[in-house]
Subunit: 364 residues, 2 copies
């Protein structure tokens, strides 16, 4: 069962929750905008369903909502930021603004961030750069849930990569993908629906293919062994080492280059739940297109590239080839008109947050 809520009311409510922590209006807006954007795009796992975790982490002293990110090292086109265990969304927002400013001035802005928290969807920051007519890249490392090829321990995050690029006629190219074959949320859906997972998604405590979502989820929660596989699946037959390599790239750019945490040190032993912030790392890069090619040429060629692919012949039984971001843009349009569907459980959680933070609650 899901409950339809209006975008405006949901935005205002989430913003109000963040304002109770004495954030500035701008910062509370960003936190709300980030979560609601995920729901609007249909990525409910990263939407307001996560608000409770932020609220709890603040209460537990894992997130310090009033801490501002500080610049550790800076040059005209680079910066290293310490998030000071602040809200990931605020750290991400300020860091991306720095990348944007540097790209506008010098053509490129590369910013790496340590000691941050979960920053919501990676695409939020790529989209900020896109709105400034820049080519935007955003990555983050995350809690270890992914098992390396030939391993059986969760040693890497689902470490997403997002890239957004402007177009002229078409919707922008807007990829936002985990480097694991599936996100944990997918296992939860299969579990709720009593479905068997295909081999190639997960491994059990022996590091062998496992199709039982309940077992894998239990193994993951209790760190018994096994977890989610990298993009490409188990072993080498479907090139799972490539997804594993992509996860490592993200960890190198977010965790190592920033001088922060990586692998199982992120949300690691002795961290989450034990009073120590998770030390998440991010990486942002903005490229000023005009420094490489005329902006108009770029967007025209983007249109032509996307058109060629969309117009190419379809597989039997398929009638559409999607470009990355299209499905999500269409969902945004639909939800703007019809309202956003929230799971009843999520709705109730928000209601409880309203009580806890002494706020009015009306989303419909």
């Amino acid at each position: 069962m899901s409950i339809l809520v209006t975008e405006k009311k949901l935005r205002d409510f989430v913003e109000a929750v963040f304002l109770t922590y004495n954030l500035t209006k701008e910062e509370a807006f960003v936190c709300s905008d980030n979560l609601v954007m995920a729901d609007m795009r249909g990525v409910h796992s990263h939407g307001v369903a996560r608000l409770k975790r932020y609220v709890d982490s603040i209460a537990q002293g894992l997130i310090f909502p009033l801490k501002k990110p500080t610049v550790v090292l800076e040059t005209p086109n680079t910066a290293t930021i310490d998030g000071n265990a602040g809200l990931g969304q605020i750290v991400g927002y300020h860091s991306t603004k720095i990348a944007i400013e540097k790209a506008k001035k010098t053509g490129i802005g590369v910013v790496t961030v340590r000691n941050s928290n979960h920053y919501g969807i990676a695409g939020y920051y790529a989209n900020m750069m896109l709105q400034e007519k820049l080519l935007g890249i955003s990555m983050t490392n995350s809690a270890p849930l992914v098992v390396p090829t030939f391993g059986k321990e969760m040693m890497l995050g689902t470490n997403p990569i997002s890239l957004a690029a402007p177009t002229k006629r078409n919707r922008p190219f807007f990829l936002d993908m985990a480097t694991s074959v599936v996100p944990r949320g997918k296992l939860e859906v299969y579990n709720r629906e009593g479905k068997t997972m295909p081999d190639g998604w997960c491994v059990d405590e022996k590091g062998k293919a496992c199709s039982d979502p309940a077992k894998v989820l239990n193994n993951m929660s209790n760190r018994i062994g096994g977890g989610i596989l990298p993009l490409g699946g188990e072993g080498e037959l479907f090139s799972g080492y490539k997804g594993y390599g992509l996860a490592l790239i993200v960890d190198i750019l977010c965790g190592v280059l920033s001088g922060g945490a990586y692998s199982d040190l992120v949300y690691g032993e002795g961290k989450e739940g034990k009073g120590e912030p998770p030390n998440v790392g991010h990486f942002f890069m903005a490229l000023k297109i005009e420094n490489f090619v005329d902006f108009d040429t770029f967007t025209s060629k983007m249109d032509d590239l996307l058109d060629r692919i969309k117009k190419s012949a379809k597989a039997e039984g398929e009638n559409r080839i999607y470009i990355h971001g299209e499905k999500e843009y269409e969902k945004v349009e639909k939800y703007q008109k019809e309202g956003i569907p929230l799971q009843e459980k999520v709705y109730e959680t928000l209601q409880n947050i309203a009580k806890e933070r002494k706020l009015d609650f009306s989303l419909r």
Copy 2:
């Protein structure tokens, strides 16, 4: 059957072949070094087995060996290069040198290239940056062999991504991966050995899973329909749209950002074999690590990251977790001692090239 040749003699022979086109000593060295490095790393599909294709393409006027790349647009940290249909290796080498120089001066060097040719292994250029203690990234678009999710036409190249990062004790992290699930060479191996391919590698002319390598190879050569799948395989079950998205990222950075060709325009209709150069695009990026974090901290943390993963528990039946590049570094060491194994057919092809270019031939 394979024939063992010595590294030194193979290097000298390939260099001599390129010198017959009046390249400079430095350029001939680079072309040879690039091809032999692939063989030494065990990537024989990109090694001297390809020399014949370069020689033929020069004869056909698709590669102009004496054309130098020219700078179209340049800023202190970016450059757009026109390869002028020169040798991809030379274009790649000069472009990477520009990226290195810019990174050393400004912290970052980003170079995008149009109108080049096949540049060998992507890792060659990432390794050049690595040798300068930079974090190096190299990408290229390539002949369309990959079918987008829900499509049945080859619209994207195998578009590889390479990233190399320095370490202290460990071998460097050195990833060099196609964004397709497998390279075409793998289909050829299965075909030669009469083996059935697993579903998830390729689709047939209807865009449906096909396990017959002979059929797919024939379909690909004659552009009947179908081709290789992106990393993640067919449809959405194993997230094939992620590999498809990665291939698009490479095409955007190499083909669109450079103002060059992309999708099926690379080696496209009316191109290869019809007298027009294939207009391949590349992308190079070098990051100066010290601009983000102390170099020593970076390499120490790289060691720790790689150690943690290598030491983590192994799946049942496995006794080693590999880091990207390890297998290849070990192959280099083995071949340096024992010689490089060349397939008899490749050996004969080199012999014929020697005749054609009027060179002595002795590799053993």
